[in-house]
Symmetry: C2
Subunit: 190 residues, 2 copies
C-alpha cells in the first residue's frame, strides 16, 4: 500500500516510514512535491486536513499530513500551529533562539510545554484524525544533535535530557508523532 | 501628592501624567530610575506588583507600575506578558514585524486581540490592582504614526483605523491603560 505524506520535509518522510513501516507490512510512504496549499487553519487539525486534502486531490492516492508543534503553557499554547515559522521564516535555529529569548526570565517551574502532533488521513472513503501529545518542558539552552525543530530545547517529562539527545529510535518510540502514528498504524493495520 | 511610576519609559510617564493629572488635582507623576527587578512573574499582575514593590522599596513613596501587552486570541493570549520583548529584545519595530509575520496566514475573522493593562499600586498601607481591557484585532500591516508599541497594528473594536492613527487625546480616552488608570484615579480621588 502506498501512502502519500504531504510534506516537503525529508526528515519527516524518513521518520514516518520508520515508524509506520514497522507496524504495517508492505506500506510505502511517499513524499509529495505537488502544490502547497495555504495553511490558514487555526488548529493543528484544520491545517493537517488542509494539507492532506491537497495531496489527495493532487495525487489521487491516500494521503496523510501532520501538523505539529510545541505548545508552551505560559504562552497559552503558543507557538502551537505557528511553531514552524515562529521567528517569521522557516528557520529552526531562529525559532529556538526566539523561544529561549522569550522565556529567558521564566523560572523552571513555569516552563511546562508539550509537543503535539495531529495527523489527518484523507482517502476516497473517509477523513480521519489522530493526535499524540508528548509532555515536557522548555530547556534554558540547547543540548543535543539529533532530531530537528524544537528537539534541542525540549526536555520530555521524566527525562533529564532533551529530545535531541535521544537516539532516533528512542525518540521514535516516545514522541508525539510516534503516539499519533501508532493510532494511525492501528487503524491501517486493522 | 507624588506618585512614583516604575518605568524607564518616558512615553508612559507622559501618558499617565496626562490621564491621572486630569482627574486627581495636585498629583505629580514621577519617573523612576532605580534598580529594575527581574520580572519573572507569569501574569500581568505578578509583574506589575514586582515592579511597584521595587520602586516603593527604593523610593519610600507610593509607587505604581503597570504591566501591559497585547493578547492575541489565536496565540492563546500571547504575546501577553512577553509583549515588550516578543522578538527577543526591547525593539517595538521588530516585535510588530514578528507578530505580523506569525499571523501572515491568519484570516481576518481569526485576528481578534486585546490590549490589556494591569496597574499595581503599592503604598505603606496597601497593595491594590486595577485592570483595563481594550478589545480589537491585529491589522495585516502597519498604519499610523502616533503611540508606541503595538499601536500601529492594533485596530480597536468599532473603529477602522489603528490605535496609532488616533490622536493621543482620543487614545487616552479609550485605551486599556486609560481604563485601568480611571479605576486608579477613582480610588485615589475617593
Amino acid at each position: 500500500m502506498e501512502l502519500v505524506l504531504a510534506t516537503h520535509n525529508s526528515h519527516k518522510v524518513q521518520e514516518v516510514q520508520a515508524i509506520l513501516g514497522a507496524s504495517v507490512p508492505g506500506l510505502t510512504v511517499l513524499g509529495y512535491d505537488g502544490p502547497e496549499p495555504v495553511e490558514d487553519g487555526v488548529t493543528f487539525l484544520e491545517n493537517a486536513l488542509i494539507k492532506a486534502r491537497a495531496a489527495f486531490a493532487h495525487t489521487g492516492k491516500p494521503a496523510m499530513a501532520d501538523d505539529s508543534g510545541i505548545a508552551v503553557e505560559v504562552l497559552g499554547g503558543a507557538p502551537g500551529i505557528f511553531s514552524a515559522r515562529w521567528a517569521g521564516g522557516r528557520d529552526s535555529v531562529a525559532n529556538r533562539r526566539l523561544l529561549l529569548a522569550q522565556l529567558a526570565d521564566v523560572p523552571e517551574h513555569h516552563r511546562a510545554a508539550s509537543f503535539v502532533c495531529t495527523i489527518a488521513l484523507v482517502t476516497a472513503e473517509a477523513e480521519l484524525s489522530f493526535t499524540g501529545i508528548w509532555p515536557g518542558s522548555v530547556a534554558t539552552e540547547e543540548h543535543g544533535e539529533h532530531g530537528f525543530g524544537y528537539d534541542p530545547i525540549f526536555i520530555p517529562e521524566g527525562l533529564e535530557v532533551t529530545a535531541a539527545e535521544l537516539e532516533p529510535q528512542v525518540k521514535n518510540a516516545l514522541s508525539h508523532r510516534a503516539l499519533a502514528l501508532e493510532q494511525l498504524a492501528n487503524y491501517l493495520g486493522a
